[in-house]
């Protein structure tokens, strides 16, 4: 999936991934995609809930070794 911006949140603990995601998302236009890399195990549920609440779409996620990758489309 093509991303407009990539956020490296690897190694960060709660609540940092969500705060960094919010900041990165603010710089995107509606319809653009943010790719996030995280290692916090809670990130999957956190980002899914955050995206839903903010009206964004968690378009895709995958796990590569220990890194969780997410693609969120700005609503």
């Amino acid at each position: 999936m093509e991303a407009n911006k990539v956020l490296d949140a690897k190694g960060l603990a709660c609540p940092m991934p969500i705060i960094k995601t919010k900041k990165a998302m603010a710089e995107l236009e509606s319809g653009q995609v943010l790719e996030i890399h995280a290692t916090d195990k809670g990130a999957k549920n956190d980002l899914a809930a955050w995206a839903k609440s903010g009206g964004h779409e968690l378009a895709k996620h995958e796990e590569e070794s220990d890194v969780l990758k997410f693609w969120i489309k700005k609503g």
Partner: protein
């Protein structure tokens, strides 16, 4: 989008771990685009103290209080396993290892995210704390101001 949702937290506790929980939730709520207020009362006021010694004229009891209470967030103790000050050292080491954000950093981040930090003026008087001793850019208020934020709030916590 419609009107912003609100999160309001009363921080009563002066324990490092409990204050950390409060500030993590506050920062998370700010990332959720909530309007966030933390109302600091009683021992929770210590989280707002500057860490330097500020010369202010005080009475005997106020001086005692000032000495006995932690001066600033970093000096607060743990609610469990404090072990006369050894516990906080251990937990801060573990936090570093896991890349968890320290309480002073969480407070700074909350201010950057426009979380409204409020100090309860009535308990400031009781504990002999004055505005000069507390962080800059915070607000001073009482129960009515807190309730006006909380009454149309969506998340409301007492920690």
């Amino acid at each position: 989008m419609a009107e912003k949702k609100k999160t309001t937290i009363v921080l009563f506790s002066g324990d490092y771990d409990k204050a950390m929980a409060a500030y993590i939730i506050a920062n998370g709520a700010a990332a959720y685009d909530h309007e966030v207020t933390i109302f600091h009362t009683f021992w929770g006021l210590n989280a707002l103290r500057k860490d330097e010694d500020i010369a202010i004229k005080k009475g005997f009891i106020e001086k005692m209080f000032a000495k006995m209470m932690p001066r600033g967030a970093d000096k607060m103790g743990l609610s469990k396993m404090h072990f006369a000050g050894f516990g906080p050292k251990m937990i801060k080491d573990v936090m570093k290892k896991h890349n968890a954000v320290s309480l002073p950093q969480l407070i700074e981040m909350a201010q950057e995210q426009d979380v409204k930090l409020v100090a309860c003026t009535m308990t400031m008087d009781l504990l002999g704390l004055q505005q000069e001793e507390l962080l800059d850019n915070i607000e001073y208020a009482g129960v009515a101001a807190y309730l006006s934020d909380a009454e149309d709030g969506n998340v409301n916590l007492f920690i």
